[in-house]
């Protein structure tokens, strides 16, 4: 019993870390209505600045802290508010979420470009002692807190008290709450909503900076992935607080830390519970809270009573292009893909051919996003988990039963589809944002609990997967494998198009654009969405098997880490969530763009080598550019696509097509009469004919 109390006390510092991150998220949500996934990336930016000035330039502690927390943190927030989120106020929650997803991907890469991409070991602490164990309290007791833990606890408590006071007692807190409910009405009350919202962003970003700098020393090296995973863990506390209550969020964070510590102490260290369950606990709690916390479905959906002032938003699923263009572009697309296939086989060298094959395999996986998000309107953040399930299942099936690889891939697809259906049953009832969070929690549960198990992933050494063999054709030759993969891609693309244009596609779109109306005519609110989710998971699983077969192994760390899945989602959604072509382009771009950029960025180096006597501003400019820029720049571009999502919810590809269609129409029919204003007036209220999405 005494032991348990001791363990519990040990959990308090961790709990404070959760609470600090969670409270910051609540603050952003309360003051801007944005569920800011990029919060972890902002924390990373401040922590990196702190690292560079404190360790590399040896600034004094106070100066480094002021720069990183008080200046850089709020500055990032102000930039985000001024150039991005101000224009998203009326956007649906899902658009805001995709935007923050793009930022989550782009910000760490921007930091790497600006501050250098070398690894940063042993992040410096935010206190005056050099080592954490130099200063301990209470000394001599069985439970001691070191300086870092004390700093975290004190900061968290101060922050929580200050925020509670801010919202309950101060005018600025009152203004923030008013602006987030309705910026327009706050304006009518005489409140300057733009200034209020900038203050709110600056404040929440300051907290992100503080959290980043405080938390960084917990890890061996500074890494955005660690911070983001910690943030997702803290989400459990955020959801516990209902996204609005700061005291409840604080309590949730502490409870989570204590629970984790008690489990660590009380459970045998070598059991499954200790290795998998303890790190996975926050994600299990998050998932469970999303399923069972009452009132989440309706909270945070206060309608702006003055929303009628906005012009109607573009429908995310409308296809604003003439039919012949659709047909023509489809024929052209197939022709182009065939030509591309032929060129790849006959012209490309092994390196580029390899990338193209990987791209085709990934395109299959990305079509799963087309089904779930494009057709089903569900922002599922765990495509990589289902791909990994497929890859593992393929490997295990081949090894255990000795069946053919192709057969194993198909069964793996079914396994993954079953898992998808099981996840979908509880999840599809949630609103857009909570569904996204639940799938994210699932991805992390999978990663922290199942992936380490040897019966799933084969343990620390990746399972090997052979290439398929059809008759005498050995797919060990990349060219044959490309043909095989392209055939699979074609078949699955055909399935997706059939679903999109058939009854399923119509049911899903009806549910997405007006759920109440769809139910009122007999469309079940769950069945089509569960089916779409299962089909999507099945496609991802099959694609995962394909990718693993090409790579020769089912390597989780190399191919299926959850963060990679988020990049896939960002890519597909920003290129065009409903379009098959967009998924294929995204798959190709994911592999070809970084490689292409690397070639591009290595050109200056080569040129300088060939001209050793070159000097002047041009030469020094060229010296700066290195091939190591390739990956950051590629990921910044991927992120930028998602950031623009709110403006083009139909995707960049579709918006280009629509523009083309309109241009051609104008050419054909230049004498189109300007619309009669009286006709327009009849439509005054038809602007919102289409139900809320």
């Amino acid at each position: 019993m005494v032991d348990l109390v001791e363990y519990a006390i040990r959990g308090i510092p961790t709990g404070c870390v959760y609470a600090l991150l969670a409270v910051g998220l609540v603050l952003t949500y309360k003051t801007s209505g944005v569920f800011n996934l990029a919060y972890g990336a902002q924390a990373f930016a401040s922590a990196s600045v702190f690292y560079v000035v404190r360790k590399d330039h040896e600034w004094p502690l106070w100066a480094a802290a002021i720069l990183a927390i008080v200046i850089v943190g709020p500055a990032i927030g102000l930039v985000l508010e001024r150039f991005l989120f101000r224009y998203l106020r009326g956007s649906p929650p899902m658009a805001k979420l995709v935007t923050s997803l793009g930022l989550l991907i782009a910000i760490p890469e921007v930091v790497r470009l600006l501050l250098g991409s070398g690894s940063r070991k042993n992040p410096p602490p935010l206190w005056w002692v050099r080592r954490t164990d130099e200063w301990l309290w209470p000394q001599g007791s069985s439970v001691v807190l070191d300086a870092g833990q004390i700093a975290t606890i004190v900061s968290t408590i101060v922050v929580v008290i200050a925020l509670v006071f801010l919202f309950a007692r101060t005018q600025i807190g009152l203004k923030m709450r008013a602006v987030v409910e309705s910026a327009r009405m706050a304006e009518l009350y005489g409140v300057n909503s733009e200034r209020t919202s900038m203050t709110a962003w600056a404040l929440s970003s300051l907290l992100a900076g503080l959290a980043g700098v405080l938390v960084a020393p917990l890890f061996a090296s500074l890494n955005p992935l660690d911070l983001f995973t910690l943030l997702v863990a803290a989400l459990a506390a955020t959801v516990f607080g209902g996204l609005t209550s700061i005291p409840l969020t604080f309590a949730g964070g502490i409870a989570l830390g204590v629970l984790q510590a008690v489990m660590a102490g009380a459970l045998p260290t070598d059991s499954v519970f200790a290795t998998g369950l303890r790190p996975g606990l926050p994600f299990i709690v998050l998932f469970a809270l999303l399923m069972f916390r009452p009132g989440l479905r309706t909270s945070g959906e206060l309608q702006d009573p003055l929303a009628g002032v906005d012009p109607p938003p573009p429908s995310p699923v409308t296809q604003d292009q003439p039919k012949w263009l659709t047909r023509g572009s489809r024929a052209l697309m197939i022709l182009l893909l065939l030509v591309a296939c032929w060129i790849s086989i006959s012209v490309l060298d092994a390196f580029w051919l390899g990338l193209v094959v990987s791209g085709v395999c990934l395109s299959v996986i990305l079509l799963s996003i087309t089904v779930a998000t494009g057709l089903g309107g569900m922002l599922s953040l765990c495509p990589a988990a289902f791909a990994a399930i497929g890859a593992f299942a393929t490997a295990q099936l081949v090894e255990a039963t000795g069946m053919t690889v192709i057969g194993a891939m198909i069964i793996a697809g079914l396994v993954s589809a079953t898992a998808g259906a099981a996840l979908a049953l509880p999840v599809v009832r949630l609103g857009a944002v909570y569904l996204a969070l639940a799938t994210l929690a699932f991805a992390l549960m999978f990663e922290s609990i199942l992936v380490p198990l040897s019966w799933v992933s084969g343990g620390s050494v990746p399972l090997s997967v052979p290439r398929p063999l059809i008759g005498s054709i050995d797919m060990a030759d990349d060219r044959w494998f490309l043909l095989f993969a392209a055939t699979c891609l074609g078949l699955i693309a055909w399935v997706v198009v059939r679903l999109r244009e058939g009854t399923m596609g119509r049911f899903l779109q009806a549910l997405y654009t007006s759920r109440d109306a769809a139910e009122s005519i007999g469309v079940s609110a769950t069945r089509p969405r569960v089916m779409a989710f299962a089909v999507s998971a099945g496609i991802a699983g099959f694609g995962g098997g394909l990718l693993a077969s090409y790579a020769g192994q089912a390597n989780y760390q190399a191919s299926f880490v959850y963060l990679v899945g988020l990049v896939w989602v960002a890519l597909v959604v920003s290129t065009g969530a409903r379009s098959v072509l967009a998924a294929i382009i995204s798959g190709m771009v994911f592999f070809l763009l970084p490689a292409g950029l690397e070639r591009l960025f290595s050109w200056p180096e080569n040129w300088l080598e060939a001209h050793p006597d070159a000097s002047g501003p041009v030469a020094s400019l060229l010296e700066v550019i290195t091939p190591s820029w390739a990956v950051p720049v590629a990921f910044i571009l991927f992120g930028a696509g998602a950031i623009m999502y709110a403006r083009h919810p139909e995707g960049s590809l579709q918006s280009q097509m629509s523009a083309l269609g309109r241009a051609v129409n104008r050419r054909i029919d230049p004498g189109g009469e300007p619309p009669d204003p009286a006709d327009d007036l009849d439509r005054e209220s038809s602007a919102d004919l289409v139900g809320p999405s």
């Binding site: 005018q171 008013a178 409910e181 706050a186 009350y189 003055l306 109607p312 439509r683 005054e684």
Partner: protein, 247 residues
């Protein structure tokens, strides 16, 4: 010299995205007078109210408040000159308490010098609000919400009050109460722009009536003349008064 009118719209056109809602509207509300703006559903009445309060920027034309040009100004700048908008439906913050709603308004209105005194006078006028001062405004009944809106507006002593369909959906008894309050506001020297579909109360209060149809002003004149020019345009179909008139 007479002071400039409280509100002037000069040749204002406005649109929602590609949809055009107002065409070259001219409208003047003199200091201390009451103008009733009437018209059918979707005629553009509410758009006029939104342009006048700055929620919508006119695509052409000018917005003058007490003689100064406020075209394109932010709504809070217009609000701080003493223009208040009370609109149909929810005109308050549902997630804030009654007291917080009032406090937010009083501390951001330059005309209120002593927010606490304003709060007390609001509670004195409408005692039922004091009973509910810690209740979230969103949980008040429709009539109570309308009263909270009026209490807020009355205590901030605006120069001009734009009342956008305040009677919509209220029980007759509450409507009468709302219009009594509007009369009190007018008597304190505040100019009124009353946007209404139901004419009875609005006509009784107004000095001038302006009718709008399909985004254009079609009639302006004395309230007494209205009966002759209705033509079925001002009244919603099915209104008993509209049934009698010949078509």
């Amino acid at each position: 010299m007479t002071p400039p009118p409280a509100l002037q719209l000069e040749d204002v056109s406005a649109s929602y995205g590609s949809f055009r809602a107002l065409f070259h509207v001219n409208l003047t509300v003199e200091n201390g007078s009451a103008v009733a703006l009437i018209g059918a559903n979707g005629a553009g009445k509410s758009t006029v109210a939104r342009v006048a309060s700055g929620l919508i920027r006119p695509s052409s034309g000018r917005l003058l408040i007490s003689g100064s040009d406020f075209t394109g100004s932010a709504p809070h700048q217009i609000a701080r000159t003493g223009v208040a908008l009370a609109n149909e439906g929810r005109s308050l913050f549902a997630s804030l308490t009654v007291q917080e709603n009032l406090s937010l308004a009083f501390r951001n209105a330059p005309s209120v010098t002593d927010p606490d005194a304003a709060m007390n006078s609001a509670f004195a006028l409408f005692p039922q609000l004091e009973e509910r001062c810690t209740q979230q405004a969103g949980t008040l009944s429709g009539g109570e919400q309308r009263i909270l809106t009026l209490a807020r507006v009355m205590a901030t002593k605006p120069q001009l009050l734009i009342a956008d369909e305040l009677s919509l959906g209220l029980a007759p008894l509450v409507t009468t109460q709302v219009y009594e309050a509007l009369a009190t506001i007018r008597d304190s020297g505040c100019a009124l722009l009353i946007v209404e579909q139901h004419l009875d109360h609005a006509l009784a209060l107004a000095d001038e009536v302006v009718a709008i149809e399909k985004g254009e002003i079609t009639f302006r004149g004395d309230p007494a003349d209205v009966g002759e020019v209705t033509g079925g345009l001002l009244l919603p179909s099915g209104h008993p008064a509209a049934i009698d008139e010949p078509t």
